[in-house]
Amino acid sequence: MNDARSNILKRLKEAGPGLPETAEQTPVPLARWSPAQRIERFSQRMESVRAEVHIVPDNGWIDLLKELVSEKGIGTLLYSPPTEYGSAIGAAWGTSDGPLRTLTGEIEEWQEQLFSDIDAALTSTHAAIAETGTLVLWPDSAEPRTFSLVPPIHIALLKAERIFDTFADLVAREQWQNGLPTNALLISGPSKSADIEQTLAYGVHGPVELIVLVLTEA
């Protein structure tokens, strides 16, 4: 299809759109909040799209997680041991694994299990955005992309200090243009659709429930 490529580029270049250069960049003031306001804004926005938000000291989240697992009747909870939180979770149910499940190897080996046997998956998060109530995930080899997508419940751990004011601020501060992961994801609530009569229905293809544990310093 090299012909197509050169023909298209040739037409575009010949046209030389003759538009005036638009060096102008209208400034758009970005919202700014204090750390406490960020947590509040984030939680309020998340809850408005039916996500569940728990603000919990970083020494208390394991207990909360166990409570949630039993409260929601989560039979199988997927997590990844080689992560910051992995060992704490692995030890949470004592000597028995309880509901905990892990998956090793590549998706071809566990796709079937992920689709049919996992009630909930727990992942960490890269950051969050207060303005829109958004989680930012940079899935990696420890926590693959499908973990936050396929199981009916997604539990996300978020450090409060990783909440940024706006998406623009996050991209600028971390200089995302210098290196993006295979997949960067913004997640704002559980999966939903309004395709039938503009009526919101949750859990269309992705998780039916999104639970965020915001970890604050104890």
């Binding site: 209208t26 799209v49 829109t132 080899s141 704002s188 939903k192 659709s193 503009q198």
Partner: protein, 472 residues
């Protein structure tokens, strides 16, 4: 493919369909008020729109350069880039990829470009099953209908109609008109397919040249499924969707969902920069990006009409269009309906075939008022009205001058002559006012629903002189 010669017939039919009219009216009223509520700060909105228009104008200005950079970055990231001049070429590219993988099932996320390509039809003719996974698109695929709105494709259907459709297609599932139950049924059916499909296809909302990143905006998660679970992902896009910088994305993302549905952000914003890397444990092993021209580079050559290509497909123009609200999307007979469709589609398919569309507007300006990238849609409609009847063409817009026929040009010449000859005009209007008793009682279609306006007994020219308002 698109026959809009019958626009008038179809719009008449839609106007007569109470169900369609009330479905659209309600839906559009809802979308308009949600959009309004999502922009409480008018100054922010003003600045965002200016910024977004600048971003898109800049991207078009540098389009060839940005496409090359995008290709280069994608290549470095391991994404395979394909170029297609026509929809036929794009279809062949997709088919080739499918055949190379011996794939018989394609699972699709929402993509207006794939609608433009009529990809499903094409692949099915080659023995490949295509399955739409966006809930609205899935419903329409079951019904065998095209979308009637670019963001909410099944907006013309009531839940009862959808329930009937499910009963007919899946007699084993208990009948329900409950939205949650219907949604759950679709989830169950489609999950099995996501788990099996060898190839997933998506559209592209933005392609970032700087980083070689494909961005997808969605709520349901089917877009993530299509781009994550199958071993092969194909993204199809028009060449105009590229932006220069990653920093261009936040302002566009801030405007797109709010303009479209009044949501502050969609559930998912999915940024894909490469296939599965060594050590990574999921994601497709191959990612393909198909860049489709199909007339866009021709539109690009006109300094005014190029603005058509700024569009980010939010649908706000149709949500706010009083014509669209009454006739719905199907009446247009094009992939993209509503005001943006009425400027874009005739430029692609030709004014000879879609020459009616630029006239299907009162030029009320509601579309331009809400367009997040400030496309002057009424100006471009006006321009295409010129193109459809112009006699001295530059042969850039297909079908130029094709609607110049019958009495119309003569009538306008006479009209122009009369109004450019003040003496004749004054004499004529004076005679009309004196002979107003001769005025016809009915004026064609006008008088079918309106009283006929009456010529006054004296013209303003006469009254002005009589009341001492002088010539100079």
């Amino acid at each position: 493919m698109q026959q809009s010669v019958e626009f008038r017939g179809r719009s008449r039919e839609a106007l007569g369909n109470e169900q369609i009219r009330s479905n659209f009216r309600q839906a559009m009223d809802g979308l308009m008020s949600k959009r309004k509520a999502s922009f409480p700060d008018q100054d922010e909105l003003r600045r965002l729109r200016l910024r977004a228009a600048e971003i898109r104008a800049n991207a078009l200005l540098k389009l060839p350069e940005l496409l090359e950079r995008l290709e280069q970055r994608c290549h470095e990231n391991g994404i395979q880039v394909h170029w297609a001049e026509s929809t036929a070429e794009a279809n062949a590219i997709v088919l080739g990829i499918m055949q190379r993988h011996d794939a018989r099932l394609l699972i699709k996320g929402k993509s207006m470009v794939s609608e433009e390509m009529e990809l499903n039809h094409y692949l099915e003719a080659h023995g490949i099953e295509c399955l739409e996974s966006d809930l609205g698109e899935y419903i329409l695929q079951l019904a065998g209908e095209p979308p009637s709105h670019i963001v909410a494709p099944a907006i013309h259907k009531s839940r009862q109609q959808i329930a009937q459709l499910f009963r007919q297609k899946f007699p084993d599932i208990p009948y329900s008109e409950d939205v949650d139950t219907l949604t759950r049924s679709a989830r169950t059916i489609l999950r099995r397919k996501f788990n099996q499909a060898p190839v997933g296809l998506s559209g592209v909302n933005f392609a970032v040249a700087e980083t070689g990143t494909i961005c997808l905006v969605e709520n349901e998660g089917n877009g993530r499924m299509c781009t994550t679970v199958p071993p092969v992902h194909i993204a199809v896009t028009g060449i105009e969707k590229v932006v220069e910088h990653l920093a261009d994305i936040p302002p566009l993302l801030s405007l797109l969902p709010r303009s479209a549905t009044g949501q502050h952000i969609t559930t998912y914003f999915n940024m894909i920069s490469s296939p599965r890397k060594p050590g990574e444990r999921d994601g497709p092993q191959e990612v393909h990006l198909v860049l489709l021209d199909n007339g866009r580079s021709r539109i690009y050559q006109d300094q005014e009409l190029i603005q058509t290509l700024r569009c980010i497909r939010c649908g706000a123009c149709m949500n706010h269009c009083p014509v669209y609200a009454r006739i719905g999307g199907h009446a247009y007979g094009t992939t993209i309906p509503g005001p943006i469709g009425s400027i874009l589609e005739p430029q692609k398919a030709g004014l000879d075939r879609l020459g009616d569309l630029p006239t299907a507007s009162t030029l009320c300006g509601a579309c331009a008022e809400v367009c997040p990238v400030k496309i002057p849609i009424p100006d471009l409609l006006n321009r295409l009205r010129f193109e459809r009847v112009r006699s001295d063409g530059d042969n850039l817009t297909p079908g130029q001058g094709s609607q110049r026929h019958g009495w119309e040009p003569t009538v306008w010449r006479a009209w122009s002559w009369l109004h450019a000859h003040p003496l004749v005009y004054r004499l004529g209007t004076r005679i009309a006012s004196r002979l107003r008793w001769l005025q016809p009682r009915r004026l064609g279609n006008w008088s079918r629903v309106r009283s006929t306006p009456r010529v006054a007994s004296r013209t303003l020219h006469e009254l002005a002189a009589k009341n001492g308002f002088n010539d100079e």
